[in-house]
Each structure stands twice: as structure tokens, then as C-alpha cells.
Amino acid sequence: MDKETVLKVARVARLRLTDEELERYAADLEDILTAFSVLDEAPGAEDFDLGPIKVEDVFREDEVITSIDASELREVMGTKEDWVRGPRLS
């Protein structure tokens, strides 16, 4: 794991890292991934699940309720004239 790879991963994750951070994380991740290569010795399997228990679909009738008052949500979100504010899409 070199600094360039960490930089690439950090960009994907929207993290801006200092040079010192890049170096530190490169060394840490190298250590961690080397230890994790023990998984290469683990037997693979044909099948796998995304969770530890089986989840089944449970259906119910639709019911109109107010879950959370919208005005409370707008307050928490710091809206301006009821608009959620965000950056320019440029």
C-alpha cells in the first residue's frame, strides 16, 4: 500500500489528507492488509449471504401516518425558506 494508492482511495471517499496522514495511513493499511491476507488460506464457498440471519419479506397494508412533523425536520436541517441548502452542482 503506497501513498499514491491511499491518495486515490481518499479521493473516492471525499477525504483530503495531509502528506503526513498519507504516509501514516499507507503504513497502517500495509500492516493491516498484510495480516488480513490470512483470508487467502480460508476455504472459499459457493454461496454466501449478505447478513447473518435470513430476512424474509413481511407485508402489511399501507397506512398514512405522520412519522415526524416536517417542520421539526426542517428545523434540524437548517433549511432556508424551506429549502435544504447544499453546494453548487459544478
Binding site: A13, L29, F48, L50, G51, P52, V55, E56, P87, R88
Partner: protein, 441 residues
């Protein structure tokens, strides 16, 4: 960084604590089935901030109660406050919080364990208190062991996660920490049960508090790497169990050696996607610099307000899911998790529970933690990661003391059999003498 407390700040702190102790000491406040509880700070509750130990959530006040909190409040529970934790649950010592570090009530130079460290310390300090904890890879067992209390991590899906700030969705479980099994037995039925807002809670069979333990399986793999104090206390506990008529069977679980890698790959993969939502918009730390392009806008807040360990786990998880590495890490870890579940199920054909020490050592001192490398910290979880990967219920209970510090053992039962664990703990509690921190007595 130096810190000079202002008089106003000290006064505020003093008043806050006074309110807290007055509440606890007022016998009238808890008449008629009322009780007090606390909640780990990644569970949302009205009237409190929910920061999950992270600066990026500073100031966030959820306008709703998480289901477990709602159910406790509806049943006479008074929420005293939120407990400190490692940022998003990322840690085994509660040293990764942006809001200070909780200290172990048995020795303030030592950690509480993590990531529900504040919850375990609170449960240890306050009599008849029940603390809501959350475990992804051992965050209830570990601090319970270090703080000398009982911690139950229910089956994955037993308790609704609605209102929980996610870490790893296929791993997160809400549970209970308290001084005794009695309290846990009392409040588990309150928080358990289906909730239409969490689909994983919909498939559970009814909770049955009964159970019986005749045989415990002790994996050979869990007896290595222990400190002499923990090994001694655990072997003594096994002898006590045998004297009480329980059969102790040695078993082999070869897949346990893959648990750490499997856990950290799955947990960080899931965390790195969950944490994508924290970007300076909508809640918590808000970026007001709207003229920026969105990449810069998001990166600003995330780079400034995520802590060191959060960034490390985001990087690890993002890498594990990237094209070219996904099959080697993420998909392989999913396959290995299934194998670990099968290993437990096989042992459970002949044993009622799988029993190990909870942590390989007693609560470490802060100077020891400072010298540990990230990988060493991860590896300390080799006894708590396996049951968490399987989604099976497990319980940590004090089994001994060394130099004044508590030591815990951890029992794991088949899916949905919380009753088996509670019955085991009840019978252990009947003959074991608990110690509580002097400061609390």
C-alpha cells in the same frame, strides 16, 4: 493543546452533575415501576444531542426516539443521558471519542473498553441502572468485561435498530449492560420484538427467557494469546462450572483464526458506505460555504471533522470494495463469515453454549494503549469478533478479578436463544461474588 476551564463552564458542569445526582437520589422519582436508564450516544433520542462520539454530528438533535429508547420510555424509563463512545463505534477502548475519554471506575488510569465504554462505566457506577449499548464487533462484551458488569448482545435482529446511527448494517445490534442479570432479564422483553421500521427485526421468533445449560464448549483456539491473569481466572471459572455439574467440553473451531480479518473487512466496507452521508449538509456540522463545488464542499467537512480512526476505517472499507479488490476482500469475507457460522452451529449440536474469556487481558492503561499500533488494537478483538459475525446472542459476565481489575467470560448461544444465556448467567450469579468500584459504594 492546552485547556483552561472557565468559571462559567465549571459552574455549568457542576449544575449538570448536581441535577443528575439529585435525580438518582430522589426515591420519589422512581416509584410505581419507574426506572432510570442511559443510552449510548449513537442511539437517537429527543431532548439530547446524538453525536456518536463524532465532531461531524456536533449539534445534531434528533426529533425522534430510537425504537429501544421509545419502548423503555413508554414503560416507565427515565432517560438520564447519553453515554460516551468511540466515534461511530470505531474502537475497543473508548479512546476515539471527540468528547473526552471515559475512565475505568476500578482504576482511572485505565480505559473502560469500547466502544460502549461510557455505557459500561455508567452501569458499573450506578446501582439498579440499565445502560443501552450497541455492538458491531464486541462493543458490549469488551467494556462489560473491563468494567466488571454484565453485558448482553442479543441475536442480530432481536432488537430494532430504527434510530440507531449505523456502523455496519449486517452486524449492528442493540443490547443491555447492567450490574446484574436480573436487570437485563427485566428490560430485554421491553426492547425486543418486531418493529416494522427495521426489516431484520421482523423474522424473530418470540423471546423465551427460559433455557438450560448442561454442556459448555470451550474452543482450543480461544485459550491461546491470553494474559496469565485472564487465563488463570478463566480456568478457575471452568473448574467452578464443573463443580456445579456442568460438563466442559474442549472443542476445535479452526475458522476462528479468520474472524478478525473477516470482521474488519465487512465492518469497514459497510461503514465506509454508511459514513458517506456525513458531508456538511442536513444535520450535524453544516458547511456554509455554498459557493464551492460539491467535491470540495463534502471533502471540507469530512476532512476536518472525522477523527483519525474514522478516516482509517473509511479508507480500509473503501479500498476493500474497490474494483479489482472486491472479490479478494469483501466477497471472500462474506464467504468466510458463513463458514464461521457453520463452525458454531456444529459445536452447538453437542454444547448448549460456547464459552471463552471475553478479552485476552484486563483493561489496559492509557499509556499502554498509546503505544499500540492500529493492527494490535484490532487483534485484541479476536474473542469478541467471532460471535458478532455470526449474529448469535452472547453475554459477558464477570468471572474473576486480578489486581483489583475485573475479568469477564463470554458465552455464545444459538440464534434467538437469549434465554439459554440468561439461565447460564443466573446460575453463575447465584454463586459468584461481584465486586463494584469503591467510588460507587
Amino acid at each position: 493543546m492546552s485547556f483552561f476551564p472557565s468559571a462559567a463552564w465549571l459552574k455549568e458542569l457542576d449544575e449538570k452533575h448536581q441535577l443528575f445526582t439529585e435525580r438518582l437520589e430522589d426515591p420519589l422519582a422512581f416509584e410505581g415501576g419507574q426506572f432510570h436508564f442511559s443510552a449510548k450516544d449513537n442511539l437517537c433520542a429527543r431532548d439530547f444531542q446524538a453525536r456518536a462520539g463524532s465532531l461531524i454530528l456536533k449539534g445534531y438533535r434528533p426529533p425522534f426516539d430510537a425504537t429501544p429508547i421509545k419502548r423503555l420510555r413508554e414503560n416507565g424509563g427515565l432517560l438520564l443521558g447519553k453515554t460516551n463512545m468511540d466515534e461511530y463505534g470505531f474502537g475497543s477502548f473508548s479512546t476515539n471519542s471527540a468528547y473526552g475519554i471515559p475512565r475505568n471506575p476500578f482504576d482511572i488510569e485505565r480505559c473502560c473498553g469500547g466502544s460502549s465504554g461510557g455505557a459500561a462505566a455508567t452501569a458499573s457506577l450506578i446501582r439498579d441502572h440499565v445502560a443501552l449499548g450497541v455492538s458491531t464487533g464486541g462493543s458490549i462484551s469488551c467494556p462489560s468485561s473491563f468494567c466488571g458488569v454484565v453485558g448482553l448482545t442479543p441475536t442480530y435482529g432481536r432488537v430494532s435498530r430504527w434510530g440507531l446511527i449505523d456502523y455496519g448494517n449486517s452486524l449492528d445490534k442493540v443490547g443491555l449492560i447492567s450490574r446484574t442479570v436480573r436487570d437485563i432479564e427485566q428490560y430485554l422483553p421491553v426492547i425486543a420484538g418486531p418493529d416494522h421500521r427495521d426489516p431484520t427485526s421482523q423474522v424473530q421468533p418470540p423471546l423465551d427467557l427460559r433455557g438450560e445449560v448442561r454442556t459448555v464448549g470451550v474452543p482450543e483456539e480461544a485459550r491461546t494469546g491470553l494474559s496469565p491473569e485472564v487465563a488463570g481466572a478463566f480456568e478457575e471459572a471452568l473448574r467452578d462450572l464443573q463443580r456445579s455439574g456442568i460438563v466442559v467440553r474442549e472443542v476445535r473451531m479452526p475458522s476462528l483464526r479468520f474472524a478478525i480479518s473477516t470482521y474488519y473487512i465487512l465492518a469497514t466496507s459497510e461503514a465506509s458506505t454508511n459514513l458517506a452521508r456525513y458531508c456538511g449538509m442536513r444535520f450535524g456540522a453544516m458547511n456554509e460555504n455554498f459557493d464551492q463545488g460539491f467535491n470540495d464542499f463534502f471533502s471540507d467537512t469530512r476532512s476536518r471533522d472525522f477523527g483519525t480512526e474514522a478516516k482509517r476505517r473509511i479508507l480500509l472499507g473503501t479500498f476493500s470494495r474497490m474494483v479489482g479488490f472486491r472479490n479478494k476482500y469483501y466477497v471472500k469475507a462474506l464467504q468466510v463469515r458463513k463458514q464461521i457460522i457453520r463452525d458454531y452451529q456444529k459445536v452447538m449440536e453437542d454444547c448448549d453454549v460456547v464459552l471463552t474469556p471475553t478479552m485476552p487481558f484486563v483493561a489496559p492503561r492509557f499509556d499502554e494503549i498509546e503505544r499500540m499500533k492500529p493492527l494490535e488494537m484490532y487483534q485484541a478483538d479476536y474473542l469478541t469478533c467471532p460471535p458478532n459475525l455470526t449474529g448469535m446472542p452472547h453475554l459477558s459476565i464477570p468471572c474473576g478479578y486480578a489486581h483489583g481489575m475485573p475479568i469477564g467470560m463470554q458465552a455464545v448461544a444459538p440464534h434467538w436463544q437469549e434465554g439459554t444465556l440468561l439461565s447460564f448467567a443466573r446460575s453463575w450469579e447465584g454463586s459468584f461474588h461481584y465486586r463494584f468500584p469503591e467510588v460507587a459504594e
